[in-house]
């Protein structure tokens, strides 16, 4: 459940609107499209995907920058949330299809047209063609499309390339941030919030990769934690052995370090929900370390018998 009742209400409304648009505009695709969307949640409800407290707050975060103005600009806020939902599914669809091993079937590819149209057209009533909103939209959206296919090769530059990819993909959340700050008459807040939002995107990718290292290892997908391991593991040591020996702890420590470094800038923004979010992420990292430290030590002692590092 989202903490802000207005955001919660608008997520519910946006989910219903998107579902209705899919049924009405693309009836031939509706059944597999909605089945794919629902497969992304445990509850089979489209909206629940966006309510989850541990997900990156792509719908809530832009609203924190205009917390006091938002109730007076309900139509723009609703359209922004709807647009971001459609944009998310567009990215997710392409990502799943590029990945080819999970998620959406290829027959859903034409649905990208619907998601893209809804993502962009939701802003048309609010921003004329000459608005400074559109250059940000164009730059971020096309940068994201380019980053979707980026698969940085292993090597010393892989981590930097993966962070750049995260900035381009998760960082596309600056599009709704630009829409809300500009449309609600506080454009200066975009410049204040953008660097914080982009760093949050990088931290989220790091946390995601710390948690997703095993499926990424299994499918040979680029991963920030595994990229660190490739540089730091002992000769002959397997990725899993490095993760249980020191990698998992290092990954969580890196998440906490970046969160701590971000805190002064976040504090300066004066947003209570943002600070609560940072504290929640820090607590999640702490809890993961507490829960796993004893077992990781056990696994590390086991690892030496399976692939002992060469001298």
């Amino acid at each position: 459940m989202t903490s802000d009742p207005l955001v919660h209400e608008l997520i519910e409304a946006g989910a219903a609107r998107l579902e209705e648009t899919i049924r009405t505009e693309t009836p031939g695709l509706a059944e597999p499209a909605l089945a794919w969307i629902r497969s992304l949640t445990l509850t089979n409800r489209l909206a629940d995907y966006f309510h989850h407290p541990l997900r990156f707050p792509m719908l809530r975060l832009p609203g924190w920058a205009v917390e006091h103005e938002a109730p007076n600009h309900r139509a723009l806020f609703a359209d922004t949330i709807y647009s971001t939902m459609a944009g998310y599914y567009h990215i997710r669809l392409l990502d799943d299809l590029v990945d080819r091993q999970t998620g959406a079937p290829l027959e859903l590819l034409p649905l990208a047209a619907l998601f893209h149209t809804e993502f962009q057209s939701a802003y048309l009533p609010h921003f004329p063609a000459a608005s400074p909103f559109w250059p940000v939209f164009r730059h971020r959206w096309l940068g994201l499309a380019d980053a979707t296919v980026a698969r940085p090769a292993p090597g010393p530059d892989q981590a930097a390339a993966l962070f750049a990819r995260a900035t381009a993909t998760v960082g596309a959340v600056v599009i709704p941030l630009r829409a809300l700050t500009l449309g609600m008459g506080v454009p200066e807040r975009f410049d204040q919030w953008e660097p914080v939002v982009l760093e949050l995107a990088r931290i989220d990718q790091l946390m995601d990769d710390v948690l997703d290292w095993q499926p990424d290892l299994e499918r040979s997908q680029p991963n920030l934690l595994l990229a660190d391991g490739a540089e730091r593991a002992h000769p002959g040591e397997s990725s899993a052995a490095w993760v249980v020996r020191e990698g998992y702890r290092r990954g969580l420590a890196a998440v906490r370090k970046r969160l701590n470094e971000l805190t002064p800038a976040a504090t300066a923004l004066g947003s209570a929900p943002l600070l609560e979010f940072l504290a929640g992420r820090r607590a999640a990292a702490d809890a993961l370390e507490d829960e796993t430290s004893a077992g990781l030590a056990q696994l590390a002692s086991l690892a030496v018998w399976f692939d002992p590092p060469s001298a």
Binding site: T41, D48, L211, Q298, F306
Partner: protein
């Protein structure tokens, strides 16, 4: 033919297959032979000395990361 098993394969298998994990707790040698792996004597000794409840917590935490409703 039984083959050696590296640690990557072991962890991925244990994470993705609950039945295999339960079998490992009961009888590691039988569980590993069941997937075509041939453990060494030292590996079996190390496996039998494991505190499986703490390891189960690790796999629960790892699994939380791959659940589509939480972090994907």
């Amino acid at each position: 033919m039984a083959a050696p098993l590296d640690f990557n394969q072991l962890v991925i298998r244990m994470l993705g297959d609950v039945k295999f994990r339960v079998a490992m707790v009961k009888n590691p040698e039988k569980a590993l032979r069941g997937i075509g792996a041939k453990p060494t004597k030292q590996q079996l000794t190390a496996l039998k000395a494991m505190n499986w409840s703490s390891i189960e917590k690790v796999f629960t935490a790892f699994k939380a990361g791959v659940h589509p409703a939480t972090f994907t």
